[in-house]
């Protein structure tokens, strides 16, 4: 009886099934790309980010430009979004404000991640007394009522110069937001620490720093990046609220929050909606897009989610 060798094209119909090694990042990226809503969010956010950087530059006006002969003008060809009560161009200030708001979001998110990872990582890695102490500390910060506390502390920090106000706001948000992330990171590290590859690190005599930041952190990275994205969205929101109350970024520096603050003047609110409405819409659009990206990332990193 004739027998055939293995290599003579047994599966003629299946060659397109390529076998390639796909890392977890590649898998996540593919899943993210397949998620149309998340990709739409990313595109919108990138467009907004480009716009807030480029539009004020391309408009060829300066921050200090004003025209007292054209105050509170409705939208027109010269001023697409009208002017405010000092005759400044609202479109220009809208995008300039976007820079500040997004910047605050980014700084606050970075701060949250740095604090959350460091504290959570150290607590989870060392355990025992250090863990107990740090987790108690994070419980305290976590139990502080977030919005009222930020408002109260912001009012204490009135002495900060106007131009540094945005950093204060970002700092405050970050300083009060990290406990959630710290808990997640700690939990993750606690489980990872028990696994074999950590014993291997131990055997190889790596330093604690190297063990925590080079070997454990990459494993919690997906958790962190999702959290950072969502944190950024909520920081943009918090900045808006704070500035709306007049306790965040201070004029003349515009931000979406303090542009909406103009609506507290009932005349501006009723008669000149172009001065505050676009800021709210831009803020909403930005936060939605960031949240869409965050949700998309979460699904993409979730091993249970199969496309």
């Amino acid at each position: 009886m004739e027998t055939l060798k293995k290599d003579n094209g047994i599966h003629p119909s299946a060659p397109e099934e390529k076998i390639e090694s796909v890392g977890p990042w590649m898998i996540a990226w593919r899943k993210f790309r397949a998620n149309r809503i998340a990709v739409a969010g990313l595109v919108i956010f990138v467009l907004i980010a480009i716009a807030v950087v480029l539009v004020p530059m391309l408009m060829g006006i300066k921050v200090t430009d004003y025209d007292l002969n054209a105050v509170n003008q409705p939208p027109s060809a010269a001023h697409w979004l009208g002017t405010d009560k000092q005759g400044r161009d609202c479109l220009y200030r809208l995008f300039l404000g976007g820079r500040i708001s997004i910047m605050v979001g980014i700084i606050a998110a970075i701060l949250t991640v740095v604090l959350g990872c460091t504290i959570g990582g150290i607590a989870g890695y060392y355990g025992g007394f250090i863990d107990n102490f740090l987790m108690r500390f994070s419980e305290i910060v976590y139990s502080l009522p977030f919005t009222p506390m930020i408002i109260a502390v912001a009012s204490v920090m009135l002495w900060v110069p106007q131009n540094l106000k945005m950093y204060t706001v970002a700092f405050l948000i970050g300083a009060l937001s990290w406990p959630g992330l710290a808990r997640l990171v700690r939990g993750q590290i606690l489980t990872l620490r028990e696994q074999e590859f950590m014993q291997a690190c131990e055997a190889l005599g790596f330093s604690d720093f190297s063990k925590i930041f080079r070997h454990l952190m990459p494993n919690v990275f997906s958790l962190v990046i999702v959290n950072a994205t969502l944190q950024m969205a909520s920081a943009v929101l918090t900045e808006a609220g704070l500035s709306y109350l007049g306790m965040g970024v201070m004029p003349p520096t515009p931000s979406w929050g303090n542009l909406m603050n103009l609506a507290r003047d009932s005349e501006v609110f009723k008669n000149y909606p172009w001065q505050w409405l676009p800021a709210g819409l831009m803020c909403l659009l930005t936060v939605v897009s960031i949240n869409l990206v965050g949700e998309g990332l979460r699904d993409a990193f979730d091993p249970k989610e199969i496309q």
């Binding site: 502080l144 009522p145 506390m149 109260a152 204490v156 609220g241 709306y244 609506a263 909606p273 803020c283």
Partner: protein
């Protein structure tokens, strides 16, 4: 169970103590002159009177001593006097907290009525157009700044509909001249609640519908749902009895966390709608350096936060037969 609760409360005491220190420190370092706040706005006081007031209110003592005195008074139930409202702080919180509560509770109920069935439908039809629609809708609810949504509602609805009140909790005229009946009063308050409740309910709906959806999606893929189908149960029974009862576990946990916060104000939203709740009182207090009031409100919120955590753990152990807490 009782033992567990008591133990948790006891371990919260040191945490709370440190929180009061932080809060007291922050409030004391708020800018502005506290003595003037005590003497009342616009009072021109001589240096002597100011000094007397400083001694009278204990403001001449070092900060730690002031803290200890304040803590001692607070523990005996004396929360001090609000300098802006000229009333005992306890009384202020006691009355404003209910205004906050009815607003939040109404929003929560409305949100749940919509969030549960919609979240379940989304999970059942995962990936469908309907699911995506509600996903985007609820993301809007999470992403919109509440005060901006409030402003938009006032601008597009409140200013254009005559009978739609846009601020406060009662009609000034009616409140001053007295309501003809309790029903008129309730009707008036309900009318004033429409816009702020809409705003709050939208955000709450968003949070809960996403939660219900995600936990239902998780549950629906479980083996025991297949078993329930294999028994010959109707799809409705499978979803609403077998699946939902499991999805209820995380939901109740979240709800437990949420309930205490019904008493703490939606700070910025209450300011937008001039709703006389805890949040608005707090902001006014901060603006006018009403330290006794601000301290009390912040500590009150912190206590609610801690209670929320405890309550969510307790709820979890109540609904999930697998969880047993022991002291």
């Amino acid at each position: 169970m009782l033992k567990y609760i008591v133990k948790r409360l006891l371990t919260s005491i040191p945490v709370l103590l440190i929180i009061t220190m932080v809060i007291f420190g922050v409030v004391k370092s708020m800018p502005g002159d506290e003595v003037s706040a005590y003497l009342g706005p616009g009072t021109r006081a001589t240096a002597v009177i100011r000094q007397q007031a400083r001694v009278k209110y204990g403001l001449d003592k070092p900060l730690p001593e002031q803290y200890v005195r304040w803590l001692g008074r607070t523990l005996t139930g004396n929360l001090g006097t609000s300098t802006t409202l000229r009333k005992p702080v306890g009384e202020v919180i006691g009355s404003y907290v209910w205004n906050t509560f009815i607003l939040n509770a109404a929003a929560l109920i409305i949100a749940l009525i919509f969030a549960i069935p919609i979240g379940i439908r989304q999970a059942v039809k995962k990936g469908s157009f309907e699911d995506n629609f509600w996903t985007v809708f609820s993301l809007l609810g999470i992403s919109v700044p509440t005060f901006f949504f409030g402003l938009v509602l006032i601008f597009f609805v409140g200013l254009r509909i005559d009978w739609m009140p846009i601020s406060g909790m009662r009609d000034t005229m009616l409140a001053n001249f007295g309501y003809s009946s309790i029903w008129q009063e309730i009707g008036d308050i309900l009318l004033h609640m429409i816009l702020p409740t809409t705003v709050l309910a939208f955000g709450t709906f968003a949070t809960f519908s996403r939660y219900v959806r995600n936990s239902m999606v998780e549950v629906i893929n479980q083996d025991y749902i297949r078993t329930a189908r294999a028994k010959g149960l109707k799809e409705k029974t499978v979803i609403y009895r077998h699946a939902f009862k499991n999805a209820l576990i995380p939901l109740v946990t979240l709800l437990g966390m949420y309930i205490p916060s019904l008493f703490s104000g939606a700070t910025i939203l209450e300011t937008v709608f001039v709703w006389p709740g805890i949040g608005k009182v707090l902001i006014d207090g901060i603006n006018q350096r009403d330290s006794a009031l601000v301290c009390a409100c912040l500590v009150f919120s912190a206590i609610l936060m801690i209670l929320g955590n405890l309550l969510s753990d307790v709820c979890y152990s109540l609904v999930d037969p697998r969880v047993k807490v022991d002291g």
